[in-house]
């Protein structure tokens, strides 16, 4: 700091702590709520301190049925979410890596046409073209399937764009040196390019995992079979039951379980994630 002003530092800490409390408030209430039986809700305030029903709520939700009209247990939906998130993250990374590689390191006819076809998708979220995409997926017989959950969401150019940037920033002499050393296109990809972009890949993985895990509208539309429900969308089904009958304790437990994996990934890979997010969007 330029000058030492203890009161300024004190204010800084206070504001940040206040911010953290405000940000964490809903989580506090959610955790507390999950420790009470369903009957504790609807009369007076939502409980603000822990009850003693935690084990029961969590056990039921995790292993038997999430409740509120959703008949599958949370662990199964968690598995579905995981398949979808990993499918989207890996799928997107792989096809983006190789297509960016083709665009940057090769010259072929219609290269710029391909480039523009892909890049048109850059910012168009699935929500905007939701109905026709649904129809296409229905025509392809992909409703209620993992492929249908993941594949349409892979069609976005953000990752391709980022890899293209990373590849173009690679020093030209390095590529030339590899060519002089006799590395062909495949060897170059695996020996040089992949190791040198691994931090980009890791950062992108975090971002895409979260993106995939948190998908809501798409799984809501294409899954009608409980067996393919993802965790995040199941919340909608759960809160849609008749008012008053909502089992808030199990909803809150499910909510916490639904946010746990992506939050863990963000916090666990914080450094890579922060760097990747801030660098990639520039």
């Amino acid at each position: 700091m330029i000058e030492n002003r203890p009161w300024l530092t004190f204010i800084s800490h206070s504001v940040l702590i206040l911010g953290i409390i405000a940000v964490a408030l809903p989580i506090w209430v959610a955790i507390v709520a999950s420790t009470h039986p369903a009957e504790a809700f609807g009369q007076g305030s939502v409980p603000l301190w822990f009850g003693n029903y935690a084990t029961e709520t969590w056990q039921t939700v995790l292993f038997s049925a999430a409740g509120n009209g959703v008949d599958v247990p949370v662990w199964q939906m968690m598995f579905n979410s995981l398949v979808m998130a990993l499918g989207i993250a890996f799928g997107k990374i792989v096809i983006s890596l190789i297509s960016a590689y083709a665009i940057v390191f090769f010259r072929f006819p219609f290269r710029s046409l391909c480039f523009w076809l892909i890049f048109m998708t850059l910012m168009l979220p699935v929500e905007v073209r939701i109905l026709p995409t649904y129809e296409v997926v229905a025509k392809l017989n992909l409703l209620n399937s993992y492929t249908g959950l993941a594949l349409p969401l892979i069609a976005s150019a953000t990752a391709t764009f980022l890899f293209r940037q990373a590849f173009m920033a690679m020093p030209g002499e390095l590529v030339e040196a590899a060519r002089m050393d006799g590395a062909g296109p495949i060897r170059f990809f695996f020996d040089i390019l992949l190791p040198l972009t691994r931090t980009n890949i890791a950062a992108l993985f975090v971002i895409l995992f979260i993106y995939g895990w948190n998908q809501y509208l798409w799984p809501l539309l294409i899954t009608t079979d409980d067996a393919y429900y993802t965790l995040v969308m199941s919340i909608k089904r759960m809160v849609s039951v008749a008012d008053g009958a909502i089992e808030w304790n199990s909803i809150m437990a499910t909510t916490i379980l639904a946010m746990l994996p992506p939050v863990a990934v963000v916090i666990g890979m914080q450094k890579i994630f922060v760097k990747g997010l801030v660098d990639s969007e520039k």
Binding site: P171, E173, L174, E176, A177, A178, R179, M180, D181, G182, A183, R187, D191, I192, P195, L196
Partner: protein, 353 residues
């Protein structure tokens, strides 16, 4: 070891720009050739055409008698040291040096043996497990050279390899490169814009200007008998003094009102460029060929550089004297320009007379 022949080699870019019209060059086996010239003269393009990183638009390149134009860089049996060194950041020093051999399918033990030998020669043995990031500039330079040497190629190509080093290290590495090349006897093509580097390294230099080879010759050739004013100005530091003058009836006339007129036994008549090196001007106590008014003095200890203007004509001149001297600013110095040290060029054709 190999001879490299460039036969009317030219480079034309798709946008129509003729970077190199046509160059002929015969490089003998084991020769150290330096391509030198200002930035944008085409020296790097020429080197990259030999490397196979740029296509050759016209003419033919052959190494050891075999046409190379269509060959991939890896198939030309050449090795290159890059300006940025281009070390693979994720590989160890040993990995960097052995990568080319690995791609050729050479046995692991053989690679290790060769890497160890070269590392010992370059004093890198204790660094083999390090990553490039953990090395100093000079060490990285050596690794880049080691990577080239391990392959034991027919030709070494260097693209301004010393420009990222500090001055002291540059001198040291310069000497080292020269010694290594002598020892290995590998034909070498070396690009630089630094004429000191060029003079000290080369068996023969090629001075390039706008894609043309202005002159090819040994360093002393170029110093003593530059073929054009461009070479004259480029080779030597400080640069040669060049004046536009007029030759008429065995008289060299400087300045507009004929204020300086020198005897000259050359029979040429007309506009010329007259040059004399700063170290060839002689100070005299009596009246000399012309007077110089001192503007600035640089004392370097072993020698003194004196900058000034020739009295009577509006021309800048530099004088180089050995040992320390302390002339007053604005004082006049009488100078002689001995005729056997002159360089005369036809002003129209730019050729030496």
């Amino acid at each position: 070891m190999a001879a490299v022949v460039l036969n009317k080699v030219g480079k034309k870019y798709p946008n129509g720009f003729h970077a190199i019209p046509s160059i002929d060059l015969d490089i003998k086996d084991g020769e150290f050739i330096v391509l030198v010239g200002p930035s944008g003269c085409g020296k790097s393009t020429l080197l990259r055409m030999v490397a196979g990183l740029e296509t050759i638009s016209d003419g033919e390149l052959s190494i050891n008698g075999t046409r190379m134009n269509e060959r991939e860089p890896a198939e030309r049996d050449i090795a290159m040291v890059f300006q940025s060194y281009a070390l693979y950041p994720h590989m160890s020093v040993a990995g960097n040096m052995g990568y080319g051999l690995k791609n050729r399918g050479v046995d692991k033990e053989v690679i290790e043996q060769k890497v160890n030998d070269v590392a010992a020669m370059l004093d890198l043995s204790h660094l083999l497990d390090r990553k490039p990031k953990q090395l100093s500039g000079g060490q990285r330079q050596r690794v880049a050279m080691g990577r080239a040497m391990v392959r034991d190629p027919q030709v070494f190509l260097f693209d301004e390899p010393l420009s990222n080093l500090d001055a002291k290290l540059r001198v040291q590495m310069r000497v080292e490169i020269r010694q290594l090349q002598r020892k290995l006897g590998t034909t070498t093509l070396y690009v630089t814009h630094d004429q000191v580097e060029a003079m000290t390294l080369a068996d023969r230099l090629v001075v390039l200007n706008q894609g043309h080879a202005e002159q090819v010759g040994s360093p002393l050739d170029l110093y003593e008998r530059p073929a054009t004013p461009f070479v004259a100005a480029f080779i030597g530091s400080p640069a040669m003094n060049l004046f536009s003058a007029h030759l008429q009836q065995n008289k060299l006339i400087l300045g507009q009102n004929e204020s300086i007129m020198l005897e000259c036994d050359h029979s040429f008549e007309g506009q010329v460029v007259w040059g004399i090196r700063p170290e060839h001007l002689e100070v005299t106590e009596t009246e000399g060929d012309f007077k110089m008014r001192v503007k600035a003095v640089e004392s370097l200890g072993a020698e003194t550089l004196i900058y000034g203007a020739i009295e009577g004509v509006n021309e800048e001149v530099v004088l180089r004297l050995s040992g320390p001297h302390q002339p007053e600013i604005n004082s006049n110095i009488e100078l002689n320009a001995p005729q056997d040290k002159w360089h005369l060029f036809d002003a129209n054709t730019q050729q030496r007379l």
